[in-house]
């Protein structure tokens, strides 16, 4: 057992962080750096790496709050398809599809666990007013069109991997929220000293680190083991870390956090969206309970 990043994995992580934080990359650039073809075999023009590398890459995408149908497109690439979203039929509320006009297909997961590949052009939908301004939503106006049904094994794989990659995005987001909070706490002065010197603020930040670290290690381990139970647990912890850290980050920013002036609200809104994406809290919990 050696549960640490390899040299190559570190290099991948550092390289992507460089690219994704220098400026906001457009879709072509993301494809160019191989974000969607990391796991596609080399003979099919991919990079031929594994799930752990994809997780590291998606953690960086989450940290940079990259927009677009990231997870679905990565999964679709393993099926030889184009731009895609992975959408699970929710327990309550309408069926919402993010980024619909940009998609070539939809990976649609039914409540019974089956997954169908639906051509995006055949979907009837109207725009909905999305909470997250960088993740526009369309609401289906009728039943989803017929698609190509995946085998059960394929459906299980797509769901597990989609859950894990979304968890990786959340880990990056959680770490970003912590970094923003620490930066602000070190600069903003009240009562004649940086607010980061107050223990109440320090303890908020310490809990943020603890959440982010535990989730990160859980996601890495799940990427190595590719075990469905471990993946469900990792998503649960990553969602908790992202949502809670974004919330605490907002608190540390005070009134500034409640405005559009600071990017904090974008972190929270995205964390909420990714929390519902692929496997939501309840389905992760029920999956885990099933293993107990």
């Amino acid at each position: 057992m050696h549960f640490q990043l390899t040299e190559d994995q570190r290099a991948l992580q550092a390289g992507l962080r460089e690219v994704l934080t220098r400026h906001e990359p457009d879709w072509a650039e993301l494809a160019e750096v191989g974000l969607f073809t990391l796991r596609v075999p080399e003979e099919r023009d991919g990079i031929g790496l594994g799930l752990p590398e994809a997780v590291l890459a998606f953690e960086e995408a989450g940290r940079a709050l990259v927009r677009g149908p990231l997870v679905g497109t990565e999964l679709a690439a393993t099926l030889g398809r184009g731009t895609a979203e992975f959408v699970a039929v929710p327990a309550r509320g309408p069926l919402l599809v993010p980024h619909l006009p940009e998609l070539s297909c939809l990976l649609l997961r039914e409540r019974d666990g089956s997954v169908t590949v639906v051509p995006a052009g055949a979907i009837h939908a109207r725009p909905a007013r999305a909470v997250d301004p960088q993740r526009p939503l369309w609401e289906l106006t009728g039943p989803p069109p017929e698609g190509e049904r995946c085998t059960d094994a394929e459906a299980a794989r797509l769901t597990a991997e989609g859950t894990l990659l979304t968890a990786a995005l959340q880990c990056g987001l959680a770490a970003r929220a912590l970094a923003e909070a620490v930066r602000h706490a070190g600069r903003r002065e009240q009562f004649g000293q940086p607010i980061g010197a107050f223990q109440a603020v320090q303890h908020l930040c310490a809990d943020m680190l603890a959440r982010a670290e535990l989730a990160r290690v859980a996601v890495y381990a799940a990427a190595v083991s590719a075990d469905a139970e471990e993946i469900a647990g990792a998503k649960l912890l990553a969602d908790e870390a992202a949502v809670h850290n974004a919330r605490d980050c907002l608190q540390v920013h005070g009134g500034m956090g409640f405005t559009w002036e600071a990017p904090v609200h974008l972190l929270l809104k995205r964390a909420w969206a990714w929390e519902q994406a692929v496997a939501d809290r309840d389905s992760c919990l029920d999956a885990l309970a099933g293993h107990l």
């Binding site: 912590l178 004649g192 010197a197 603890a210 190595v224 139970e229 919990l285």
Partner: protein
């Protein structure tokens, strides 16, 4: 990143499992928690068995009497012994996980030869005399004083919360050797024989009803200078070495224990009908994910330390999350067993004992201070 056993590790795991399968059924039933002499006898007998089989001090250096096993093998040992339901280190805790490693790292060759073998064999039990009535979280405020007199220190003062003191042979004692030096500079680390004249042990009854720990009164106790580990007045640095072992893997096997306990609680919940309660079932599921992740965090931390020798953020993070999660587990157990939670029983005993987790070995507030200031680099308040 990889989590698989190497062939050598798999072989180690298989042999250990075989040995545990053969040895555990031969053990007598564990004693009552309040029977300290009984607990000492039980724990030291188990330690002796480990020693005879070559599993004592598994990760200690070979020249300190250990097996010199790799960090991975150490984790396999913790995982397998816990899975098999082997006894907990118990009374041997301080010797094996604190004092022993400290002496191995900081002691003289004579001290290593004198103190380490009896710890490994289970012949001698240690306790930890750090805290004082006026020095808890602020450990460096300790006042127990030691005055040099020829070949001895003459020590007077008192210690509190000293776990296992009733049955201990030795105490890792922190004393103040220079009352005029700055707080952290005048401290010295001594090995004190508990049978020395002037040592009085007064057991304290915990809220769980046991006598887990005691007060120590030290009245002109003579401790040979030869029992000083590290230099005079350099005890704070030695103490940090001790505490790094405490925050290192000292609680690691308990993370495995918690995974077992969650499964056990799920079994009880099914039997008691509590499993039909969706909210409760999901709360248990969430805890199972947390304990699984905590074990992964142990593996991550140990791998990280073996790469560059420096423990990462993980020690305090683990302590913080683990102690709070484990308390939630026992609160949940109380909901599973319902009215029975008000009657003394196994889960209730755990629940009571568990109240100490966020206090002992550095409170959760102190762990948060450490994370914020040492890891995140936030400024100290004025």
């Amino acid at each position: 990143m990889q989590l698989q056993d190497t062939p050598a590790e798999a072989d180690f795991r298989r042999r250990l499992r075989e040995w545990l399968g053969k040895t555990l059924p031969e053990l007598p039933p564990p004693p009552d928690p309040s029977d300290w002499p009984g607990r000492r006898a039980f724990d030291t007998q188990w330690q002796r068995r480990l020693f005879d089989a070559g599993y004592a001090g598994i990760h200690w250096p070979v020249d300190a009497g250990g097996r010199g096993a790799s960090p991975s093998e150490h984790l396999i040992f913790l995982e397998e012994t816990e899975h098999a339901g082997a006894p907990y280190v118990g009374a041997s805790f301080v010797g094996l996980l604190h004092a022993g490693p400290t002496i191995a790292a900081e002691g003289s060759p004579d001290q290593r030869a004198r103190f380490l073998p009896p710890i490994l064999r289970g012949d001698e039990i240690w306790c930890q005399g750090f805290s004082e009535p006026g020095a808890g979280s602020d450990l460096a405020a300790l006042r127990t004083k030691a005055v040099r007199d020829g070949d001895s220190y003459v020590v007077s003062g008192s210690k509190i919360w000293t776990s296992h003191a009733e049955v201990a042979d030795w105490c890792e004692l922190l004393v103040r050797t220079d009352p005029d030096a700055p707080k952290h500079k005048g401290i010295t680390w001594l090995a004190m024989n508990m049978d020395a004249p002037g040592v009085t042990v007064r057991p304290l009854r915990t809220l769980a009803g046991t006598t887990e720990f005691a007060e120590l009164f030290l009245d002109e106790v003579r401790i040979p200078v030869a029992n000083r580990v590290g230099e005079e007045n350099d005890g704070w640095r030695v103490t940090m070495v001790t505490l790094s072992f405490e925050r290192g893997t000292a609680f690691a096997s308990e993370a495995v224990a918690c995974r077992r306990e969650v499964r056990e609680l799920a079994r009880v919940a099914r039997a008691e009908g509590a499993w039909d309660d969706l909210e409760l079932r999901r709360a248990l599921a969430a805890l199972s994910a947390e304990f699984a992740a905590l074990w992964r965090l142990v593996q991550w931390n140990v791998s990280e330390a073996s790469a560059d020798g420096v423990p990462g953020a993980g020690g305090s993070v683990f302590k913080l999350r683990f102690s709070e999660a484990r308390q939630r587990l026992y609160d949940l157990a109380a909901r599973v067993v319902g009215a029975d939670a008000l009657v003394e029983g196994a889960w209730t005993a755990q629940r009571l004992q568990g109240l100490s987790y966020t206090i002992a070995a550095g409170t959760s507030q102190i762990q948060r201070n450490i994370v914020a200031q040492r890891i995140l680099g936030l400024p100290k308040g004025r």
